[in-house]
């Protein structure tokens, strides 16, 4: 009798948590941020941009109020299998693309070099358990793979050859995270039903959060103020 109750409870729990949906929304930027700075590229890297000015990417917007490059995540969530698919960062025109990305602990982060230039790839984590490393990557060289064990927000990748090159990867110990597109939209897929704290974090704009309830999905919009 006891085992029957346990089995029925387990079935009910699994059936209950099997219901999942997408958490979507849009992030808007309020206010006008300081103008982006021109990057003083060396001539070799400058040539790769056909003489066009290259600027910093602190506030990436679509010009219509949407704010990109925000990391969106469910705080304290558990679960979500580590994806077999690598998070890919490319070095193109002596810039890291994308500038902001997210990954799960132990997920492969693959760094490519599409440039005809030499780079070094130097992740500089600040959380114990995540290892710093520094690897050379020749022009159009073989991809370099990195993994990190612990959760860490905005783990910095840098190139010391070109001191303006940075990319930030936020590492989570669960699978429920995303990065907003240029228009501010985001989507976290496969979120089990339940109550969560949804957090939006921008490197310069700071952090905002909302309590949400997921019932086959949820929608939440946010506003970040330019600092």
């Amino acid at each position: 009798m006891k085992s029957l109750i346990l089995t029925l409870t387990t079935i009910a729990f699994v059936a209950g948590s099997a219901s999942a949906g997408d958490v979507t929304g849009k992030i808007s930027l309020k206010g006008t941020p300081a103008p982006e700075k021109d990057i003083p590229m060396d001539p070799a890297c400058g040539k790769l941009h056909d003489g066009k000015k290259v600027t910093t990417r602190f506030y990436v917007t679509d010009g219509a109020g949407g704010l990109g490059d925000c990391v969106v995540y469910l705080e304290g969530a558990k679960g979500g299998a580590v994806s077999d698919k690598a998070v890919v960062i490319d070095q193109k025109g002596c810039e890291y693309l994308p500038y902001i990305s997210s990954a799960q602990a132990k997920q492969t982060i693959r760094v490519l070099n599409s440039d005809p230039a030499l780079h070094n790839v130097h992740p500089t984590p600040s959380v114990d358990g995540n290892k710093e490393s520094n690897k050379a990557q020749l022009p159009k060289g073989a991809p370099l793979d990195f993994t990190f064990e612990k959760a860490e927000k905005f783990l910095r990748f840098k190139c010391d050859v070109h001191p303006w090159m940075f990319s930030y990867v936020s590492i989570f110990d669960h699978g429920f995270h995303a990065v907003s597109a240029k228009d501010g939209s985001f989507k976290i897929t496969g979120v089990p039903d339940g109550k969560y704290k949804l957090v939006v974090e921008h490197r310069k704009g700071g952090k905002v959060e909302k309590e949400i309830e997921v019932k086959g999905g949820a929608k939440a919009d946010f506003t970040i103020e330019a600092k």
């Binding site: 300081a34 982006e36 700075k37 021109d38 990057i39 003083p40 060396d42 070799a44 910093t56 602190f58 230039a117 030499l118 070094n120 130097h122 500089t124 600040s126 710093e132 490393s133 520094n134 690897k135 050379a136 020749l138 910095r156 840098k158 010391d160 050859v161 070109h162 001191p163 303006w164 940075f166 310069k204 704009g205 700071g206 600092k227």
Partner: protein, 397 residues
Amino acid sequence: MSQPADNPWLHRFALLTALATLGLIGIGGLVTSHGAGMAVPDWPNSYGYNMFTFPVSMWIGGILYEHSHRLAGSVVGFLTLALALWLNGRPAAKWLRWGGFIVLAVGLMAATNARVKLDNVLFLCGTGVAGLGISFLWPQHEPGSRRLAQFGLVALLLVVVQGLLGGLRVTAMKDYLGIFHGTLAQCFFVLICGLALCTSRWWKQAITAPPSGIVPVQVRKFLLLTTLLILGQLALGAAMRHQHAGLAIPDFPLAHGKIWPATNAAALERYNSARLDTRDFKAITAGQIHLHMTHRAGAVLVFSAVLACFLKLRGALGADHRLTRLARGWFALICVQAGLGIWTVLSNKSADIATLHVVVGAVALVKGALLTLLASAMFSARPMASEVARPFVSQAG
């Protein structure tokens, strides 16, 4: 055969080594000012090449600074080896022979390992053969002052440790090794400048002449204390450079608009949000702010102490005495150094200004150290002067 301490060429060679060391410190300053310390990820090789065969076409961006620093370090290492051998004379020939033999043996062993590149094998074998050959030709003279010979060996030891520290900083990726590396460089520079002074003909003549005045023991102690204070300030500066704390406070004379800036979480978030720089430094921490403020407080202390040294020497020896004039120059240098420190902050840590700040700091330390040495050796009570000076004078002298 002339004694080394009598040889003007030895003095000139020591001066050349000192100048090369100052240049090396300057290039080291450029490396940290440009944030290029990790631009070459491997060591002792550079991107897999032996550092002497690394193609010039690959010296781009931060690599230019880091690789030039490595090459300049090798030049200073070679000059220091030659200086140590020169100071030690005939006994050093045996060490050079054994050293050459060992390097040649390592090179031949490396030749049997398929993983070691040919340029490294050729470099090791070539260096070993050169050392062996040179040991039979030079040095053949008798050593000069025993103490100078010992200091030559200390310099050689320091330059080796310094090279290893620099290499480990790259391979172990530890900021604190860089701080030791930056501070030891200053100590090494003082030692080489001391050797250059003590091998000069001027030193030998001045040390035997009657003193033109007496510097009281308290003033000599104060000179030493002030010099150590400058060394401490340079160590703080090295810590700032290697922890990128130079711009943790971007304004002057206030600090984030206050006399002492707030370091709570909200304040730090505000500072970091407002920090928009193409170099995208690591986030400002409370530790970086405290370090920066300590360096500012240290600057005030050094400024006051050097001014006090000048006034004390003027009081003891008069305004026209040689030591007083040197102290006046020292104080002027400290004023320049303070100005460069302020300019570094106001220029948003322009690499050239920050590097000049490092170089002038090194010169200020040497000036203090040599002033202390001169005051102790030449302008103290007679018995003490001879005690201090004797070991640095050639036995033949």
